[in-house]
Structure formats: structure tokens, C-alpha cells
């Protein structure tokens, strides 16, 4: 009787301590600025999910959370970590109990622990466990005012070296319900040597976005509103990626009309232009090289193919592309570089920040028949679309974790 009572007391204390530890982990993540934090336990393993709107990039926040878990008090457990974006799970990182214990007792270095982490694009099982868990520090309703710099340089006229347009285009980005967000952007001209729409303060992207993640790594996204490249309309995209995300496939289709600001008047046309693409991507794990091929139908009906080769160097991505559409060849390069700061303030009601990356694409063809026939024209549905933003490829993430662990060791 006495023994049983003592056993119950002991169990109560242990469970309480675990509960306390669970609450502590969630609290720690919230204190770091993570949003939509939830935790659950099943089969002696811990399941943790969060959305990182504080650290720049896809790897830095994950690294910080892993470090928190490695240095947390209490008995070690295998942890399933699911990273969200716009409340949609993106990847799962698995940290084994033995490796936590190894780090805590000094037999494993941080770098070795990071090497042992397995990352997958498949989050179905973990999210099933986390279903129904209470989300703390919700992102819904939080507003980011993002200051997007815009630069365009075109060499297509003989009376000027470059047709130059410099704008600042702040955008209000609001997280809504799961998978939904709203972007409302205004473009303010700073300087240009051209004449036309670029002289006016005008609407930029005004987009309502709804994304869904279906089982087996299927993603669906619907965007409606005012896009870039003088388009307004609706765009639907479907994508699928393997668990290791070495292969990914996608379809994208849009129905748009023109949205222009000539003469200072906002003029719209009926949505009559159908465009789209079918793409396939292979990620080479050793050099973090993405090879992408797509068949495209551009806005004005020209059809063709485009091939991209992008290499990721940490947070910088550099790539080359070649395109053949409407009987004309084109090609160039693109890059994305990170903008300060690597860690932003936590989100309260409204936060002002720079975009995560500054990206540009150079194309060799801009004039003559390419301009007259409006070949190769496509649009984007978000102000920040580049090869670095939202890049959750597992091999790349793991490489980054190991690199950051190595850098933190060298900095001691």
C-alpha cells in the first residue's frame, strides 16, 4: 500500500516534471519569437511544430531550436520537429534521443549531432499527432510592413545607356488563417529616366493567397489579385515533392488581364490571357545544385521551354538560365543575396522590416522583336519570389545545420 502510494507520488512528480518541461520548451520557442507553436507527445517521443518569422532563411531558426532542445533540462526524448510557413508544414527534422544524450554527456559534438539529424519533406505522421494541439503565439492577424527595393536596368535604347527605374515598394503582409495571407503593396517611384507608369505612385501586388497541403507532399496554392508585370487575375499552382525532395514536379496555370497605370489612370482589361507552366526539378545533394526544366506558355501566348541551373551557397543562390520561346532564344543569370538582419524582432501587432533577400535576374534579350511581340513574359504572385526564399530542400538544410554548427564551434 505504502509502496503503491509512493509509486503514484513518484509518477505524478515525473509526469509533472515532463509537463513542466514541455511547457518550458514551448515557452522557450515563444520567447525566441516563434509563432504557431504546438507540442504533443506520443509513443514516448515528442512532436514539436512552429513557424519561424524571426530568423532569416529556412535553416537558422531550425538550428536555434535544435540547440535549445540539446541544452534543455530533463530526460532526453526523440523529437520530431515540424517547421511551418504560413501555418503550412514544410519539413520535418528528426533528432534522436541517443544523439541528444551523446551531446549532453560530451561524447558527440554539435556538428556530429547535426549530421545525425534526418530531414524529410514528409510531415504527414507528425502532423497527425499534432492535430488538435493548441497553437501558442498565433501568427494570424500579425502584420509585417516589408520595404521592398525595386531596381530595373534595361539596355534597349540608344538615347540612354540604361533605362533605369528605382522604386521603393512597401507591402503590408498579413497572416490570416491556415495557409492564407494577404499582401497589399504600393509602389513609390524614387528615380527613373523613363516616362510612363513608372512615374506614378501606383498599386503593386494586391494578392489574396490560399495554400493547402494535402497528404503525400502535395501542395496547392490559389492566388487572386493584382500581380506584377502589369497583370491581374487568378493563379493556381500544384506541386509534389518526394520525401527527400530531390525530385519535385509542378503545374501552374493562370487567367489574367492587364492592370496598367498609363497616364496616371489605373486601367484594367478583362481576364483573357491564359498562361502556365509544367516543371520538374532535380536537386543534386553534394553541390546543392538545382536543375529545373519547364515547359511554359507565357502571358501573350508564346510557348517554349526554360532550363535553370541554380547553386545554393548558404543563403546566397546564383543561377543561369536558358529559354526558348516564341521562336526566340533568351538566357541569363539570376541571384539572390540576403538582406540585413539575420534575426529580426519578434512580431507584435505590426513590424517593419526589409525583405529577407534581394534578388535580380539578368536576361540577354529585352528589345527588338522580343519587346514588340512581348515574348517570354511571365508574372509572379508574391513580391519575394527567388531561389533562396522558402528553400526547404532537406539536403541543403542539413548541410546548413552542419555548417552553422562548425561556425559556432570556431567562434568559441
Amino acid at each position: 500500500m505504502m509502496t503503491r502510494r509512493l509509486l503514484y507520488i513518484l509518477m505524478y512528480v515525473v509526469l509533472s516534471l515532463n509537463g513542466l518541461k514541455s511547457e518550458t520548451v514551448v515557452r522557450q520557442l515563444i520567447d525566441m519569437g516563434m509563432e504557431n507553436v504546438a507540442m504533443a507527445e506520443a509513443g514516448g517521443e515528442r512532436f514539436l511544430t512552429w513557424e519561424d518569422n524571426v530568423y532569416r532563411g529556412t535553416s537558422r531558426g531550425l538550428f536555434e531550436v535544435l540547440k535549445q532542445i540539446l541544452t534543455a533540462d530533463g530526460p532526453a526524448q526523440t523529437v520530431h520537429l515540424v517547421v511551418q510557413e504560413e501555418q503550412i508544414p514544410r519539413i520535418e527534422a528528426l533528432l534522436y534521443k541517443e544523439n541528444i544524450e551523446g551531446f549532453q554527456n560530451g561524447t558527440l559534438t554539435l556538428e556530429e549531432v547535426m549530421r545525425s539529424v534526418t530531414i524529410s519533406a514528409n510531415t504527414d505522421k507528425s502532423m497527425a499527432v499534432l492535430k488538435g494541439s493548441k497553437r501558442e503565439n498565433r501568427s494570424a492577424g500579425k502584420v509585417d510592413v516589408v520595404l521592398y527595393p525595386q531596381l530595373s536596368l534595361v539596355n534597349a535604347w540608344i538615347d540612354k545607356l540604361y533605362g533605369t527605374v528605382i522604386n521603393i515598394a512597401p507591402a503590408i503582409e498579413v497572416s490570416l488563417w491556415k495557409g492564407a495571407s494577404f499582401t497589399g503593396q504600393v509602389i513609390f517611384p524614387i528615380w527613373n529616366n523613363m516616362k510612363g507608369q513608372m512615374d506614378y505612385i501606383r498599386p503593386g501586388m494586391l494578392v489574396l493567397r490560399q495554400e493547402m497541403r494535402l497528404p503525400h507532399n502535395l501542395f496547392v496554392e490559389l492566388c487572386v489579385g493584382n500581380f506584377n508585370a502589369n497583370r491581374m487575375g487568378a493563379n493556381l499552382s500544384l506541386s509534389y515533392r518526394l520525401d527527400n525532395d530531390r525530385w519535385a514536379f509542378g503545374l501552374n496555370g493562370g487567367l489574367t488581364g492587364s492592370s496598367t497605370f498609363y497616364g496616371g489612370k489605373w486601367e484594367l482589361s478583362k481576364w483573357k490571357k491564359i498562361s502556365g507552366e509544367a516543371w520538374i526539378r532535380f536537386s543534386e545533394p553534394h553541390y546543392h545544385l538545382d536543375l529545373e526544366m519547364k515547359g511554359i506558355r507565357c502571358i501573350y501566348g508564346d510557348m517554349g521551354v526554360r532550363a535553370d541551373c541554380t547553386r545554393h551557397f548558404g543563403e546566397v543562390s546564383v543561377g543561369l538560365f536558358a529559354m526558348y520561346t516564341g521562336g526566340e532564344a533568351n538566357g541569363g543569370f539570376h541571384f539572390a543575396i540576403p538582406l540585413p538582419r539575420s534575426k529580426r524582432s519578434k512580431r507584435r501587432a505590426v513590424r517593419v522590416r526589409l525583405p529577407e533577400y534581394f534578388d535580380m535576374e539578368y536576361e540577354a534579350q529585352t528589345g527588338n522583336s522580343y519587346a514588340v511581340e512581348r515574348l517570354g513574359r511571365t508574372y509572379e504572385t508574391s513580391p519575394e519570389v527567388n531561389k533562396s526564399r522558402g528553400y526547404y530542400q532537406p539536403d541543403f538544410l542539413k548541410g546548413r545545420l552542419v555548417q552553422m554548427a562548425s561556425e559556432s564551434k570556431n567562434n568559441k
Binding site: D159, V224, Q365
Partner: protein, 410 residues
């Protein structure tokens, strides 16, 4: 919760508005620059100027003709004609009661499209006729300048004939010699039974005169040397013997030499339609100077060249040289501003048109041989002629048109 519901409602409204706009839209077509042909790109050249009367007033209602193209001077005496070829064009000025003028006007071979050649012209009202009788001598004095006169001896005409003599300004012509006096004698083609005398007074004293003056007659629009106009020291005049009537001219021993052309930039005309998709139409009008003037103070130049010349001779020679220069230009000295319309320019969408203007100022050196104190002396005057305006049309384009494909970064 309430905040979320409000957000949902607001976004639902946004979605409806966007979809509504998209499905109904404001226009069927996507904006493209409207392309139009600009009439100013045609090969057209203009001849324009002011027509004045001999009493220095502008003349309205003068008919100016080049081939099939006709214009009439407006209330300011301004006319303009367009031609589509470079080279020489015969321009005819006519108004009832005035001596008609025809002269060659050259559109230079290097003239740019829409360039304007300035041509002023003075028309002289015909003098009243004087009756001449076969049985008496009659002297008819040209009343406007009182420089030329006709002496019709008895028997020169068979019957009573009404004769008029009018001095006028002829303008550019085929001869190198500058005219001292050009007269229209009517009835044109009248033949005399015996020669009559045309006397052209020397504006100065006998101490100085134009040397080697010749008599020229206009035949079919061309001035032809007919003979000498010898100087009669007693009468202080050049005497010409006429056997019949036409247009007659006493021309000095002189020559003309081109002393250069300067181009003066004028304000350009811009029509900036960049950023707009619709074509625009704009009337293009330019202002140009028309006329001529003698460079420097002529009296001082004469005084310096001919020392000891009396004040009245200086004045007389100055007046004679100015009149002779006016003969070569077709109008009295003076510069007027003339408005010339190049017509309606049509500028395509997203295009800027610039009309650059350069005023041509030609300097011509006119050399006269004068006999002073028994010696022949060459005296030069520089005449500055406001010869018109050259135009150059250039285009700049907005983002929809490109000159080449040099790549770009976005």
C-alpha cells in the same frame, strides 16, 4: 474573434471586387501603343515670307504660286507654300494693281524635311499711265523714287498712247550684276518709231558714280544684257536707248560672293507622349526671322573707303547701295518675324517627338566697282540674310519601343 470576422469580411469583399473586375473588366483589349504615321515625316519643304508694298505696309491678298500650289497672303502679309522637291522653284507674286514678280527660289540640296526657306517680297503699285502724243516730246518721271525717267520724243509713237513706268524690286535672278534701278514699262512689247531715252539718275554727285553700268532686258523671265548704259556727266545720269518696252534694268559692275552661313539654335518643340498609349495630334508652328540687313554702319564704311567724299554723296551712295541690295533680295532692308505652320504632327503612343530648329543666317559680300576721282575702286558690303530655318525631327520612345536588344536586369 470579432477582429478575425471583420478581417474575413473585408477580404471577402476584396475577393469579390477583384473577381468582379476581372470578369467584367473595363476594356476588352490590353493596352498597346497606338501607331500612327506622322505627316511631318514626309519630304516637304516650305517657302514662306512677308509681302510688303512699296510704302512699307504689309500686303494682304497677294496670290503666291509655285506650279499648281497657290497661297494668299494673310492680314499680316504672310504666305507659306509647301513643295516636295529640292532644287529651284519659280515663285510668282501677283496682285491687281501691282507689278507682278516671278523669281527663282532654291531649296538647297542639303535641306532637311520641313525646313523653311524665307523669301520676302515687295510689290510695287503700278504708277498711273501718262498719255504720249506723236506730235510732242513727253518726259515721264517714275514718281515713287524719281530716279528713272523716260524721254519720249515726238514721232516715237504713231498715235496717242498711254505709257506707265514703275520702278520695282525684282529679287533673286540669274545675273551676277546688281541692279541700280529696275523698271516695268507698259504697255509691254510696245515698239517705237524712233528710240526713246531711259535716264537713270546717279544718286550722288558727278564726283562718284558706279562704273561700267549695263542695260539689261527681261526676256522670258531671264535678264539679258542688251548694251551699255553710258554715264552722262552733264546730266549726272546713266542713259539707255530703248526701241521697245519690256522690263528694263540698269546694272552696276558688281559681283556676289557667299561669305558663309551660320546656324543659330532656336528653342525646340517637344511633344512628349511617352507613357500614354493613345496617339496625339498637335499643331506645330515655328517662328522664324525673315529679311536682311547690311552689316555694320554703311555710311561709316563709305566714309572710310572714300576719303573726302561729301556728306550728301555719302548719303546718296548709301541709299543707292541699300537700294541695290534690296533689288537683289526683292524687299527693302529689315527683319520680320514670321509664323510658319508645319501642320498637324501625329505622335504615336509612348513616343516623344522633338523638332529641333536652326536658323540660317547667310552672309553675302556684294562688291561694287565705283569710279571716284577718275579711279575705279571696288567697295564691298556684307549683307546678312535670314534665310530660313532647318528642322530636324527626332523620336524618343518609352518602354514599349526599343532601339536594340541589349539585355536587362529586373
Amino acid at each position: 474573434m470579432k477582429k478575425n470576422k471583420m478581417m474575413v469580411v473585408a477580404l471577402a469583399m476584396f475577393l469579390s471586387a477583384t473577381l468582379g473586375l476581372g470578369l467584367t473588366g473595363c476594356s476588352n483589349d490590353e493596352p498597346q501603343p497606338e501607331i500612327v504615321e506622322n505627316p511631318l515625316d514626309k519630304n516637304l519643304y516650305y517657302i514662306a515670307g512677308v509681302v510688303t508694298s512699296d510704302d512699307d505696309k504689309v500686303l494682304e491678298g497677294v496670290t503666291v504660286v509655285i506650279g499648281d500650289v497657290k497661297a494668299t497672303t494673310n492680314a499680316n502679309g504672310v504666305y507659306q507654300l509647301s513643295v516636295d522637291k529640292i532644287g529651284a522653284h519659280l515663285v510668282a507674286f501677283a496682285k491687281e494693281g501691282y507689278v507682278s514678280i516671278s523669281k527663282n527660289v532654291e531649296i538647297p540640296s542639303n535641306a532637311t524635311k520641313n525646313s523653311v526657306v524665307a523669301v520676302n517680297q515687295e510689290l510695287t503699285s503700278a504708277n498711273a499711265a501718262v498719255s504720249v502724243h506723236p506730235d510732242s516730246d513727253t518726259e515721264i518721271i517714275e514718281t515713287k523714287r524719281a530716279v528713272s525717267s523716260l524721254l519720249v520724243p515726238a514721232g516715237a509713237v504713231k498715235e496717242k498712247t498711254d505709257i506707265s513706268i514703275t520702278e520695282y524690286l525684282e529679287g533673286a535672278n540669274n545675273t551676277a550684276r546688281a541692279s541700280l534701278s529696275t523698271i516695268s514699262c507698259t504697255p509691254d512689247g510696245l515698239k517705237f518709231e524712233k528710240p526713246i531715252e531711259l535716264k537713270v539718275k546717279n544718286s550722288m554727285s558727278a564726283a562718284i558714280r558706279f562704273a561700267d553700268v549695263k542695260h539689261f532686258v527681261e526676256k522670258n523671265g531671264v535678264w539679258v544684257e542688251e548694251g551699255d548704259a553710258p554715264f552722262d556727266a552733264q546730266k549726272n545720269a546713266y542713259l539707255i536707248e530703248l526701241n521697245g518696252f519690256s522690263n528694263h534694268s540698269a546694272r552696276a559692275n558688281s559681283s556676289k560672293k557667299d561669305a558663309g552661313t551660320s546656324m543659330v539654335e532656336l528653342n525646340s518643340i517637344e511633344v512628349d507622349n511617352r507613357g500614354n498609349m493613345n496617339a496625339v495630334v498637335k499643331k506645330v508652328t515655328i517662328k522664324q526671322k525673315s529679311g536682311w540687313e547690311i552689316k555694320g554702319d554703311l555710311s561709316s564704311q563709305i566714309s572710310a573707303a572714300f576719303s573726302g567724299l561729301s556728306a550728301s554723296d555719302i548719303e546718296g551712295l548709301s541709299e543707292a547701295l541699300t537700294r541695290s541690295a534690296a533689288q537683289s533680295q526683292g524687299a527693302a532692308a529689315g527683319v520680320k518675324e514670321v509664323e510658319v505652320s508645319l501642320g498637324d504632327a501625329k505622335i504615336s503612343g509612348d513616343t516623344k517627338m522633338t523638332v529641333s530648329l536652326q536658323e540660317k543666317q547667310k552672309t553675302t559680300t556684294m562688291s561694287y566697282v565705283l569710279n571716284y576721282q577718275g579711279r575705279d575702286i571696288t567697295f564691298n558690303i556684307d549683307v546678312v540674310i535670314y534665310a530660313g530655318v532647318d528642322t530636324k525631327i527626332t523620336y524618343e520612345y518609352g518602354e514599349h519601343f526599343t532601339d536594340h536588344s541589349g539585355g536587362g536586369v529586373h
